[in-house]
Every structure is written in C-alpha cells, then in structure tokens.
Symmetry: C2
Subunit: 264 residues, 2 copies
C-alpha cells in the first residue's frame, strides 16, 4: 500500500526517518536526514514537513530537525517498557540506596540488551549503558543472565544465528558452559568485559509465563564487587519485581547459592 | 502525498493508529483500533499488519495489538525529554532522598503539563500524575510555575486561547494575579486542587535562553507542607538542573524569599 517507485512503503519510510535519529545524532539538517534515511532529498523534505506538522519531528531555531516531544509521549504512555519500569522503579531505588552504584533494568531485543531504565549516583563508576541504549548480549551481565534463563530452544536458536560471528564472539560451547554456570549461581558476574574498570552483576526477573522477561543489574568498581552482599540484595529486589508483574513467588527465581535454578 | 480517498495522508493515519493507545487502553483488538483511529476496518487491518512487521506494533498471544518496544526505543534514544531527564535525574534523587515524597519533572506542551519523569517512594501520598501523562496547566503547581515565568506575550496568548473556557477555568485576571504571586515567591503551591489530600509545590527550571523550560515539583500530604524547608531544597536542585542545561547560574532563577523574580 502507498508504495514508492523503489518499492518501500510510506510506513517503512517514516520508520527510516525516525530511526535516523539516535543518541549520537539527535538533530540534523534535512540533507543529512535524507542521507541517513536513504531517501531522495525532495522526498525527505516533504516527509519532514509533514511529520513536523504532526509533531513527530520538530525544527530547532537553526533549522535542524529532531524528534518531537509528542512522539516520545505517544510511544511512552502505553509502552510495555514503562509498565515494567513502573513496577521495577521502587525496587531499583532500594537497590541503589543499598549498593550506591548504577542500577539498571533491561530486556532482550533482537539478540541484544535494551536498557529500559538506569539510576546513577553521582560518584558511581562509569557505565556505558544508557536509557534506550543497547549492548551485545554476550558482553553484558544482564544479557547473559537473561539468555541463561531462557528456554533451551531459544538459546540454541541464538547460537545458530551467531554461528558465523567472528571472534571475539565466543564459541557456542563456551557460551553453553557460561550459561550453565550462571543458572547454577542464579546470577551473572562479568568483570571488565564492557570496561576494564567495572564489573556487571545481574539477576533474572521472571514473568508470569515462566522465562526471564528482564534483568536487574548493577555496575560496580572492579575489585570491590562484594558479590556476597550484592547478589542477595539484587535477588530480593528481582523477586519483588516478579511478584509485581504477577509471577507466583514460588516461581520467581532461584535462591542465592541454592543451585536450585532450572536446567542442568 | 499518498493520500487516501478521505484526504488524510498515510503519515497522519499512522499517527492516529499510534495515538489510539494510551495508559487506559494499552492493548486492543484490531476492530477497536479501527474505531479509535477512525479508520475503515480493512485499512486498520492492513496498516496494523504493516506496522507490526516494522515492530512499531506488536501482537500479544491473544491477538490484541499494542505498541512495540521498538517504537519506545526509537522515540526515547534521541528525545529531548530524555536529555532533560538525564540532567535532572541525580537532582531529583537528591530531592526524593530529602523530601521523601513524589518528585516530578515536567514541561509545557499544548497548554498542558506533560510529566517527563516521576520518582515515588512506597508510602508517599497518592499522585495523579504519571510518566508521559498530562494535567491541565491551571490545576498543576508545575504548570502554574512554568506559565508564571513565561514571557508576558506567552501568558496573554494562553489567556486568549482559553478566553471562552467555562468555569471552573479561572478568570484571566485571577490567573494574572496568581502568576504575579508565584513570580514573587519563586514557587507555586497549590493545596488540594488535583486531590483534596495533597499539595503540589513546584519551582521553575530555567533554560539557556531565559524562560522556564521545565518545572521541578513535589506532591506532599496536605497540612504538612513544610514549605520553608521544601522550597529551598527544590530551588537548590532546580538551579543545579539549570546549570546542567548550560544556563549561567546568575540567571538560573530567583532566590528563596528574595522577591527578585522577573516581572512585577
């Protein structure tokens, strides 16, 4: 429907225009937008004007375009990201009050970790994750803990999709071994993978249907992880979030050090 | 471009589809979507399928449609709402730690208050605002404090647009009087307007161009407002946020009790 000569639909072109903006490129002139969205300049001009009239885009004083506040509002007011966040937020604040480092909430999306929320203290260590930012699954404690607690067929499909990924992507057997260890522990601890100075620690959040639907994690200075204190606090908060999502508490996840996780 | 027989463009129809979802209606069957978006059922079917293939919509197990996580991600990763939020968040956490009640950040949008962020403590009083939710400007302390610190012509344009609003919308002279008082105080205190049990207290956040670009507020139990403690804390945090936005500190707003605000 409403296809252009090149065969892409209007809906597809609109999504390409919106996708042209990201955290590194929050605003741009229309020529840059045309190039990044892969559209002829005249098409980009017309589409940008129409999207600006609908408040999906807004024009700055200098004539640059950026995403409009209206798009954020429409996308946010009924999003499942905000539902999850709303349930998780008081528990995240508890964790941040106790651990005093970055506390983050994430989901799996397209084989990557998508960060839904992040609380930072001034003075906490650096953290490369940002809200609505992504990290590759295998370098993030949050990603690894979610995949470790996914059904076996989901894990195998992930491995099949990445069979030909070049190093440093880990071998399938290495990942299977790591996931088994994470299931035994009930948490993922990845020291210095994203940043040599920090360690990510994450636990799964289980949904009413069983598998992990999200991860709760902290980023702490490497060498002072104190996992014996951090992990029980994270697990306690994750169980509270699971309960808030409607998950029966007996299924809300492993107990610390119990080795009672599914699998193996 | 790509207009339907009824004259609305494809972009407009897509925005109508997205706008059909809100916090009260986060998911719905396609027939409801068609009705809420004002589209023929067959058009809604085709458009929903196309938007689902682009991950703008997603289908639940029961076949209901809702907004996709992908739309939230695209809208969030370069939004000015998240930029403001990122600067404000550490200061909001400070306020919440000190005041221990709902702390919220908002902007003006279409003569209403749009809430960008909200931190709640368990045990804090009820609050009708939610993230990406709106309230009418004149019943919200955040809305009143932003409009009180807007340029005079912006205030008069607002009053002209609402000249014929029926009661309980206040008379123009009453609003002008309240704005003058708010400018003198440097904060807006609205006891029991949204909810008879609570009081909203808000201060302006000034942007680099001068006018208030946002408001920082708290919602506290009515009768225990303790404004002499709350307002200086809010003003201190608001100046920190203004500075983070690139506003020179001499212009970052009135001092508590100084009567040094612009106007009057």
């Amino acid at each position: 429907m409403a296809n252009s000569p090149s065969g892409d639909s209007m809906a597809e072109r609109i999504v390409r225009v919106i996708s042209a903006f990201d955290s590194e490129n929050p605003s741009m002139p229309v020529a840059t937008l045309a190039r990044r969205a892969g559209l002829p300049l005249s098409t980009a001009h017309r589409l940008a004007a129409e999207l600006a009239s609908l408040k999906v885009l807004q024009k700055s004083g200098t004539g640059e375009l950026r995403l409009g506040m209206r798009l954020w509002e429409l996308a946010s007011r009924s999003s499942s990201a905000l539902d999850l966040r709303q349930v998780a937020m008081p528990f995240m604040e508890d964790i941040q009050a106790v651990i005093r480092q970055h506390t983050q909430l994430s989901v799996l999306q397209d084989d990557e970790v998508l960060f839904i929320e992040r609380l930072s203290s001034r003075g906490s260590v650096a953290n490369f994750a940002r809200v609505a930012g992504r990290l590759p699954l295998h370098i993030s404690s949050s990603g690894m803990v979610m995949m470790a607690h996914a059904p076996r067929h989901v894990q195998e499909e992930f491995l099949a999709r990445h069979r030909d990924d070049p190093a440093p992507f880990p071998a399938a057997d290495e990942l299977r071994r790591q996931w088994a260890g994470i299931r035994r522990e009930g948490c993922a601890t990845l020291p210095g993978v994203v940043d040599p100075e920090t360690t990510g620690i994450a636990v799964p959040i289980f949904g009413p249907q069983g598998p992990a639907v999200a991860a709760l994690g902290v980023v702490v200075p490497r060498g002072s992880e104190n996992t014996s204190a951090t992990v029980p606090a994270l697990m306690t908060a994750a169980r509270g979030i699971s309960r808030g999502l409607g998950t029966h508490s007996a299924e809300a996840g492993p107990r610390h050090g119990s080795g009672a996780a599914a699998g193996d």
